[in-house]
């Protein structure tokens, strides 16, 4: 009798223990996310579906990324980069400045017609004239000047960095402006000019 009660208590304790410490699974998190949002306008529910990159970068967020995961994500990102077919990398820095200032696009209150910006100033210092810049990313003031101007290797690296930044630093916070279709090729060329044109205020 006493033994039976003892076993009963032990079982209850075990059940309670298991219940309290059972870690949430990926499936729990995904189910919660899907139940917690609704599509609105251009922002459909598929935005909650994680790519391999997003999944890995979520898992390792705030932790040290294992070297093999880092290498495989960077390789995949590098292979995603599409360089300009005409080999012409530099547009108009004045247009680039406008793109760097604009934070518009892809929100549920935007439309398909909204011209997206790059919102570079949200995270980076660029020209000295704009003092309302963020510090999530490094300062890009004098970006071109410090790298010896728009040489072939600097052009390709910078283009790749804008297209898919994970090619050089997997799981960093910068959006994949080319790979994710946020900016057009022409817009990317304007941003390239902002960074690399010797006449751009970034290099003054």
């Amino acid at each position: 009798m006493h033994k039976a009660i003892g076993i009963g208590i032990a079982a209850a304790l075990l059940a309670g223990f298991a219940n309290a410490t059972e870690p949430v699974t990926d499936a729990d998190v995904v189910a919660t996310m899907k139940a917690s949002f609704r599509e609105r306008g251009i922002a459909k529910m598929d935005r909650l579906e994680q790519s391999d990159l997003q999944k890995q970068c979520s898992t390792w967020s705030g932790k040290q990324l294992p070297p093999d995961v880092k290498a495989s994500l960077e390789k995949a990102a590098m292979e995603s980069i599409v360089y300009p077919a005409d080999n012409d990398y530099l547009g108009d820095w004045k247009e680039g400045e406008k793109i760097a200032q604009s934070g518009r696009g892809f929100q549920f209150n935007d439309t398909e017609k909204t011209v997206a910006g790059g919102n570079c100033y949200a995270c980076h210092e660029l020209s000295k004239a704009e003092i309302a810049f963020g510090t999530i990313g490094p300062s890009l003031y004098n970006y071109g000047k410090l790298r010896g101007g728009p040489t072939e290797s600097v052009l390709r690296y910078t283009w790749g960095r804008l297209w898919n930044s994970h090619a050089f630093a997997a799981c960093n916070h910068m959006p994949r402006f080319g790979a994710a279709g946020i900016l057009t090729e022409q817009q990317l060329k304007h941003v390239m000019a902002l960074l690399l044109d010797p006449e751009s205020p970034v290099n003054k």
């Binding site: 309290a20 996310m33 917690s36 909650l48 979520s58 898992t59 003092i131 963020g134 916070h173 946020i182």
Partner: protein
Amino acid sequence: MKTRTAQAGVAAVALGAMLGAFAIGAPPASAQEDTKAEIERYREMLQDGNPAELTVLRGEGLWKEKRGPKNASLEQCDLGKGPGVVQGAYAELPRYFADVDAVMDAETRIVHCMVELQGFDRAEITKRPFSGSGQRATDIEALAAFVVEESRGVPVNVPQQHPKEVASYQRGERIFHYRGGPYDFSCASCHEGENKRIRLQDLPELTKQEPAQRAFTTWPAYRVSQGALRTMQWRMYDCFRQQRFPEMKFGSEASIDLITYLGVTAKGGKMDSPSIKR
């Protein structure tokens, strides 16, 4: 109280005018420190009168007034410390409620009481939970303002006893790091790491206790730039808009989980809300 109310109203108008001037006047290019000092001064001035005081009063009225199909007040609402106890309740939310077998935050629980006690239609009252810029607070916002005011000075103590409270925290932590959407953003994109700033706005590092305390204890807040009272549910909703996610549902599990994660991290901070923010 009448004088305070009038003062708050005058302050709101004056602040609106100030904000306009602030937005139009371009700061001199070489004067970043001056700009920072100016913003600091502006923030100090905001402390003098908080238009949210008006909203708190309205919320108190809504709490005590007999309303809805059942013609009942909310005075018997159980916010976690027993029916009718409002004092200190907000500082211990979200928490597990046995009657619904789920974890609820303050706003979700207020809605629950409006439905159960007063007979309001849930879909109807949560259709537009947030007011527009410059508009009068919704009933939910006003009630949240009243409830949080009753916890001013009370240390944050979001419970982690029930398994569902523990699970909520764990999911919240995972959701905080969940990257998705066309920009690959998660909450952590902006709120993990020290001394981050978006444009000129400082970003609290919400994985750490002290910044989490500052954040948790100061929502709901009167947002001067929007001329409206904003709640914690709104804060979650609007962050996800900027993350380029779909639209977050009011009172959704993910929203409650994130608030639980933040609240547990913020343990010990003293509630100081409604506050006033830029």
